[in-house]
């Protein structure tokens, strides 16, 4: 089904999905095309397909998550895999079983795919180097969140047809955002122009070396963009006091109904969730006609099915 439409020569070969920085345009496009084929499974009366039958997927989550964890669990079960949930909150300094030991124990139980979320950038890469199972990054520190990046570009492509030539603003705490990084890689690779918007204290000081432009003024940017992705203010990651108050932050960077009046009429409003309503976005906008926030969630399922499917297939070929 899904695979028939694929570009003739291209072969997916990665058994891990660690980040979007390392993916080619062809690879990203291939995942998106594969996801399109999986989308209809969720609309059937029997929401199940067999490709991962007999496979075990473990959700190894060291940080809080509802959306991503459930999305992966559901995606895996729709592909007929067995899913194990492993949730463990650890502080960065706490001793005890190491990440590698945890993963090796999982592997000893015969699991096939590890979906990992971890507070340390590079943790999925560390796993991928040391174990045989497939590794899918479900968010590592503020490095990457590749399936979020994929579902974002999937959503935009589905509605706008292409990302090529689009102007996209990513607004908020860029410095501590893995979503901003994965979005940046995927969107720019697919031909979009990305603008980071936020206070200077939340924009990486090396942004000039990244394939993006930077603005400190949402009012200036909102008029010209086709897509606006509002990041959640991650109070748990903010160090120090990067802005004086929530009130002042909202004043400059909140997406209000008033500000939306200046936007293009067909602007897409996105948010990776969970929303701090009234802080980065007014409810009226979050639930408004330009909002695709819930489509993002729906599409996330198809994208994650595609990723699970592809890494499993690559592993099967590698082990043959």
């Amino acid at each position: 089904m899904a695979l028939k439409r694929k570009s003739k020569q291209f072969k997916w070969h990665r058994k891990h999905l660690l980040g979007l920085r390392e993916l080619s345009v062809e690879e990203i496009t291939y995942i998106l095309d594969t996801a399109r084929g999986f989308e209809q499974i969720s609309t059937r009366s029997v929401k199940k397909a067999p490709p991962l039958r007999g496979k075990v997927v473990v959700n190894l989550f060291f940080e809080d998550s509802t959306r991503t964890r459930n999305s992966f669990a559901l995606a895996a079960s729709r592909l007929s895999a067995d899913v194990i949930e492993f949730t463990k909150k650890v502080s960065a300094v706490s001793k005890g079983e190491t990440l590698l030991d945890t993963a090796r124990n999982m592997e000893a139980m015969g699991i096939d795919i590890i979906v990992i979320r971890h507070g340390a950038g590079g943790a999925p890469k560390l796993l991928s180097r040391n174990i045989n199972a497939c590794v899918i990054n479900a968010g590592d520190g503020f490095c990457e969140h590749p399936t979020q990046g994929l579902l974002d570009v999937y959503t935009i492509r589905k509605i706008k047809g292409t990302l090529n030539g689009l102007k996209i603003a990513i607004v908020g705490d860029i410095a501590h955002s893995r979503v901003a990084r994965s979005d940046m890689w995927a969107m720019t690779k697919l031909g979009a122009e990305v603008i980071f918007v936020g206070p200077p204290t939340l924009i990486p000081s090396t942004a000039s070396e990244l394939p993006v432009s930077v603005s400190y003024s949402l009012d200036e940017v909102i008029e010209k963009v086709d897509v606006i992705n509002m990041l959640r203010i991650q109070f748990e990651r903010l160090g120090g006091n990067p802005f004086p108050s929530v009130r002042e932050y909202s004043h400059y960077f909140g997406l209000t109904a008033e500000r939306m009046k200046k936007a293009k009429h067909d602007i897409l409003v996105m948010h990776p969730g969970p929303i701090n309503r009234g802080l980065e976005m007014e409810s009226e906008v979050a639930d408004g006609r330009n909002s695709v926030i819930l489509e993002q969630v729906t599409n996330g399922l198809a994208v994650r099915m595609a990723v699970l499917f592809l890494v499993n297939q690559a592993a099967a070929i590698a082990n043959r």
Binding site: R21, T98, L99, G119, G121, G122, A123, T206, L210
Partner: protein
Amino acid sequence: MNPEILIKNGRVIDPANGIDKKCDVLIIGDKIADIGKIKKPAQKVIDATGKLVTPGLIDIHVHFREPGDEEEETIASGSAAAVAAGFTSVVCMPNTNPPIENETDVEYIHRKARQARKTHVYTMGTMTKNREGTELAEMGFMAEAGAVGFTDDGRGVQDPAVMQRALKYADMFNVVIAQHCQDNAFAGNGVMNSGYYSTILGLPGIDPLAEEAMLWRDIQLIRKIRPGRIRYHAQHISTAGSVELIRAAQKDSLPITCEVTPHHLLLTEECCAEYDTNYKVNPPLRSAKDIEALKEAVREGLVDALVTDHAPHLQSEKELEFLTAPFGIASLECALALFVKALIEPGILDWPALIKLMTEKPAKIIGVDKGTLGVGKQADVTIIDPKNEYEIDVRKFRSKSGNCPYHGWKVTGKVERTIVGGEIRFEA
């Protein structure tokens, strides 16, 4: 008494006495007895044709982890590694567990070193109690017990008033105050240099300003204190900004010295791109621009000592996430070849200049009568084969830890023999 040793036909390099010529060195007992063309027979004759004969190398910045973390390194294993790498003297940092902060602790290090019988092992003591940066440690008692300097290495003294007090108090003794320049407010929870790579790797960065701000502060303190005998030593400087500060301070003839490590001369932040924790070190690996500035500083003579900051760690600890793994590179056993690669091969230094930074100058910093082949001096001698090419193999290290990113590197310059106090302690 040790047998007499006659080292024949080597290229004898003794920077302290301006010697660089082909000749012989005679050792009687634990002293250098003669240098020149020596006809006299000796009990033990070493043919050093084609080799360099230099004062025993001195590394004034190592971590031997004893007491407290003996699974990572001990004074016995560390000094065995040192002697095999041509070092006849090393200076341990006091950030052990517990830290070296009184005369008993200092004596403990010396006793372990005597038992190991490999190199001379000196130690620095902490500048403040428990390295907390609040109350001064007993520098006087430690100095009397033989501590050669004071530092809270691993961290810098944050409070400027405490630092000022430490510098003033230490002026009473003829000691060096060494600083790990790092302002924690700037460094935050950083784990690598802050820049492009920390941004794309999603790792918290350490701003070069963390080092430069503290170095600047200390230099200003020294200007104001107008010291008598106090000497200040900036440990492992790593940024172009620090080089500028040192340049200005030395121009004003302030009593300030500094050191650099091989990794800050050879490796950049880009090495962290694969999250290999063997590249996680503090101060962090910086940019190519910083390397150029450090090399230029060495060329200009602004740098007084080449040191390893040998920091052994267990493999199990280095197998952690980059964010969590400890800082440190173990490089003692390949140090000489690394400095050859960084400084001699690109033509920045010649052999006598390199040897000077590994013998005479570091000895001066810690105030010990070593680092020379002068007649009557203690016979610490290193014999080097400058042409020997080899591949660094971490598995052959005598050190207990192999957290060394240079594994597999092809390098030139190997230590053949190390003589400590007139006794051959290492032969390749």
